[in-house]
Symmetry: C2
Subunit: 200 residues, 2 copies
Amino acid sequence: MNEKFFDLKSEKQDKMINASLHLFADNGYKHASTDDIVREAGISKGLLFHYFINKQGLYSFLIDYSVRYLLYEYDRTVGEETDYFAFFDKLESAKLNVLRNYPYMYKFIDRAMAETDPDIKAISNPELERYHLAVESYKNKLSTPNLRSAITLAQLETLIKHTVSGLTSEQLKSGRPDPDALNIEISSYISLLKTLSTVS
Amino acid sequence: MNEKFFDLKSEKQDKMINASLHLFADNGYKHASTDDIVREAGISKGLLFHYFINKQGLYSFLIDYSVRYLLYEYDRTVGEETDYFAFFDKLESAKLNVLRNYPYMYKFIDRAMAETDPDIKAISNPELERYHLAVESYKNKLSTPNLRSAITLAQLETLIKHTVSGLTSEQLKSGRPDPDALNIEISSYISLLKTLSTVS
DNA sequence: TTTGGAATTGTCCACATTGGTCAATATATG
DNA sequence: CATATATTGACCAATGTGGACAATTCCAAA
């Protein structure tokens, strides 16, 4: 890519990034058209190719940028938190901050995992792996909560994971998401699960 | 559509249906190509148009067929069950039966809800509405479980809904799904949530 | 004001893909 | 055999594709 891209004012950068994330997320690599991206970003075709050389270069940049951004945001927000429930609370709050700036970043990453084209997989796999490993390493540092005998730690984590991602994607579908309201809702479910699953 | 379609042996019908569900689910109406559908179904282009007239006709048939099939399967499996947890257990087992025959039917319905083209919305909206209403009417007949004071009925339902759909879509992504194993897993989570949320 | 390099445009193009048609052929049935 | 029906796949006009590039706008320094 052309590094001059980062000299643009960040508002314009983000318009290009968000339009690209959106169309790749919704349509996959093959069916996301650069014409559509350009139209949604409000820039000319020439400019997009000026900064990213070709479609693959754009995709590759987005993978790189997204993983970097997500991990940075996690690190910034989660810090050294080791308490189990507090960790998830902070992690989700970090995710919502991402959503605030890049509403389609998660869906993009999700779709990237499902791409089949070998060239595209070769580009994205290492970065996606890196993301996955980083998240796992957070979890390894957590304290074990004092659970009721009816539930295991793995089960609790499954409940948290799916509930949170379900609530999030539900909001995303309903037009403009409200990250603050969502933050409160997610917090309340995490605390609910804490109450239900731990011994007092 | 051409009613002769139903005279084909059901194996062939399902190959056409599944290929169509798959490509519409993954790419949306606009970007799902009839060439791809035909290739995946292992039939000729002419045959597809012989039975469904045009792309819109095919889509319209699929919406109709899917909603009809889902509701039939629910009715068959759930019956008159009114116990709260038993109901969800049966409902999920019905869903898994659908998955067994039509792995992409849910994703198709999900994507249909997100279509923006007005013609397509006009086709799918009434059927999707019908589906939604039917599911709601089941829920209205349920007994209220005896919950711990920490949790409300709405919260419990949210936990069940997202956990179940999360577990399901996780399986779907991992190549060939194993509905029997998934059934057991989902049952165990429903029973877990029952234990955690009810007073003994 | 002038100048020169950078950002930005949008038209243009060769080619691929699109939904859909249709005459030809295979298959089954009686 | 004959007849009807299921099925094929080459073909088409229209549209969409990624990418190139000469032309323009913009803006800071001289």
